[in-house]
C-alpha cells in the first residue's frame, strides 16, 4: 500500500521522537565504556589484553588475575584495611556526630551562632585536603601514628564528622517537633522520644549519611597515600596506585583490584540513591 503524505509525516515524527533516546544511549555508552573496558581487562588472558584490534566481546575469560591479586597478592590485605578503616571511621563519626546534630537541630541557638556553626562545618568540608596534610603528617609523625590504621581512622573520622553533623541536622529538622512533643506527652522522656520515635523516623537519612561516610573513606586517596607508606597499612586505592607507578605494571591484577574496589561503592550508591543529590550537594538540594 502506498503511504500517504500524512503517513510519511507520522513516520518522520516517530523517528524524531527516537533521537533523544539515541542521544541518551550514546551518553550511557560513553559513561560506561571505560568501566566495561576495565572489567574486560581484568577477565582477559594476558595475551588478549592489548591485542589489536581491541576485543570488546568474545574473548576467553579467566579469573586468574583475581586469584593473582587476592589469593596470592597483597590486595587482600589492602582490601581488609580499607574495609576496617571505612567501617571504624564511619561508626565513630556517627557516634559523635548524631547526638551533636540532634542538639543543633532541636535546641534554640542564638541566631548568629547558628550561622557560624553552619559555616564552620561547611568550611572544614571545603578545605583542600592538601592544605591540612602537611601539618597532619607532622602531627601524626610526632604521635607515632604514621603508617597505622589508627592514625588514618582518626583523620577520616574528623573528615566525616562535619558532614555527619550537617546532614543529620537537616534530617532531624525535618521531623516535625510536634511528633516528639506528642511522644513526651504520651509519657516518654526526651531521650525516650529521641530513641523510640525520632531515630526510627530519620533512619533512612541516617543510613544514607553512613553510606556517604563509607564511600568517602573507601575512595579517599591523598591522605592514605601520604599517611600510610608501609605495605601493612596500605588501603586499596593506595595499593592500586603503588602498582601503577611501578615500571612493570601487572594490568590484569590491577584491573581485578580496581573492579573489586568499585563494587562496594556501586552497591552503596544504589542503596542510598534517594539521598545522592542531597549528600553530594551538602544538603543544599533536597532531591
Amino acid at each position: 500500500m502506498k503511504r500517504t503524505r500524512a503517513g510519511w509525516y507520522e513516520a518522520a515524527r516517530k523517528a524524531a521522537a527516537l533521537v533523544p533516546y539515541l542521544a541518551a544511549v550514546a551518553a550511557v555508552f560513553i559513561a560506561l565504556a571505560p568501566v566495561y573496558w576495565l572489567l574486560t581487562i581484568s577477565l582477559k588472558r594476558e595475551v588478549d589484553q592489548f591485542a589489536y584490534p581491541p576485543q570488546w566481546i568474545g574473548f576467553t575469560a579467566t579469573l586468574e588475575h583475581y586469584r593473582d591479586a587476592f589469593a596470592g597478592g597483597s590486595f587482600a590485605a589492602y582490601f581488609e584495611n580499607s574495609v576496617l578503616l571505612a567501617a571504624i571511621s564511619t561508626l565513630a563519626a556517627l557516634a559523635i556526630g548524631v547526638p551533636a546534630a540532634y542538639g543543633l537541630a532541636r535546641f534554640e541557638w542564638p541566631r548568629q551562632w547558628d550561622h557560624r556553626i553552619g559555616d564552620w562545618i561547611l568550611s572544614t568540608r571545603m578545605l583542600p585536603p592538601i592544605v591540612t596534610i602537611v601539618p597532619l603528617f607532622l602531627m601524626l609523625r610526632q604521635a607515632r601514628l604514621l603508617n597505622s590504621l589508627t592514625g588514618l581512622a582518626i583523620v577520616y573520622t574528623g573528615f566525616n564528622l562535619p558532614f555527619v553533623v550537617w546532614m543529620m541536622r537537616g534530617f532531624f529538622e525535618e521531623v516535625p517537633k510536634e511528633i516528639e512533643e506528642a511522644a513526651m506527652l504520651d509519657g516518654e522522656s526526651r531521650a525516650g522520644a529521641l530513641l523510640r520515635i525520632v531515630l526510627p523516623l530519620v533512619r533512612p537519612g541516617l543510613a544514607a549519611t553512613a553510606v556517604f561516610c563509607l564511600v568517602v573513606a573507601w575512595n579517599e586517596f591523598l591522605f592514605a597515600l601520604i599517611l600510610t607508606q608501609t605495605e601493612a597499612a596500605m588501603t586499596l586505592p593506595v595499593g592500586i596506585a603503588s602498582r601503577v607507578t611501578q615500571y612493570e605494571i601487572k594490568w590484569g591484577a590491577m584491573s581485578a583490584a580496581g573492579v573489586v574496589a568499585m563494587i562496594p561503592v556501586l552497591v552503596f550508591a544504589a542503596a542510598a540513591q534517594k539521598y545522592l543529590v542531597r549528600g553530594l550537594s551538602l544538603g543544599a538540594v533536597k532531591g
Binding site: 516535625p176 510536634e178 511528633i179 512533643e181 506528642a182 511522644a183 513526651m184 506527652l185 504520651d186 509519657g187 516518654e188 522522656s189 525516650g192 520515635i197 526510627p200 523516623l201
Partner: protein, 327 residues
Amino acid sequence: MLEITGITKRFGAREAVSAVSLSACAGEFVVLLGPSGCGNTTLMRMIAGLETPDEGTIRLCGEDITRRDPRERDIAMVFQNYALYPHMTIAQNIGYPLRVRKRPAAEIEAEVKKVAARLGLSGLLANLPRQLSGGERQRAALARAIIRRPKAFLMDEPLSNLDARLRVEMRAELKHLQHELKIVTIYVTHDQAEAMTLAHRIAVMRDGKIQQFDTPANVYQRPLNTFVAQFVGSPSMNLIQRDGVILGVRPEDVQLSASAQAGASPGRIYVTEEMGNETIVVVSDGSSQITARCPAGARFEFDSTVWYRFKPDKVHRFDSSGARIPD
C-alpha cells in the same frame, strides 16, 4: 481543677503571654480564642509542659505542675497537624501511650479496639497514618489522646486542617465526646464559631492577655471591649463613632426599611449577599459601612436608598479606648 495564676512567657524581648490567670472546673470545656500570634498556643504549650513559663504557676488537681516534665503531668494533647507517628500503624499509634506505661499487651489491644470502635476507626487499625484521610487522622489523634483517660485534654486547632463540612461534623462529635468523658479540656482556636459552639467558657485573647473570660452567651451579648465585640460573631459587630463614644450594633440588630421612618437614617445599598436562610446587606452612609442581617428574600437594588435604624436596647457603648461603658 486546672488553675493558672499569673503566667508570663517571654521570647527574647517579646512577651508572648503576659500575666495570664485562668481556671477551669472539673469537666469544663474552655476555649482560648484569638487571632494567630495572640499567645493562646503558647499558653497551651505551657500547660502541656512543652514550654516553661517565666513567671506564674500552673496547678492541676491541686498539684503544682509548673515545672514538671510533660510525661509526668498526665495531660493529653491533640496537635494541629495531628503529630501521628508516621512509622507506626494506627493501632500502634493509638496504643502508644499505654505501651510507654508498660501495660500488658492484651490490655492495650482491648483498649485500642474499644477506643477505635468508639471513633469509627476499627477498619483502619492496620494502616499507616499516610494512608488515611484528614478526618480519619484527626480521629486517630483523638483516639490516642483519650485512650489513657488523662487528667486534662489540650487541643491546638485540631479541626483547622479539615474541610468545612467535615469540620462541622467533627465539631459536634468532639463536643459529645467531651461530654461523655467529662475531662477538663483546653481548646485553642481562632475560629469564633468553634469557640461559640464548643465552649462552656471562652477566654478571648489578644497580645498575650485575656480580654474576657466568660460563657459564650455573655461574651456575645456583653463584650467587654471593641476587640471582643468584633472578634466574636459573624458578620462582625458594627462599630460607629458618634459624639466621642463608640456605638456597637450586631448586624441582626440593624433594621432596614425602603421608606423613611422615625429615628432612621438614610444610606445607600453597597452590596447584598443572599445566604439562603438570610440575607446580609451592607449599607453605606457616606463615611462608614453598616452591615445588617435581614430575613431571606429581602431584595435591594445596588445603590438604592434605604433607611436603617438600631434596636435601641441592643446598642453597646464603648469609650474611646474601646472599653465597655457600663449600662
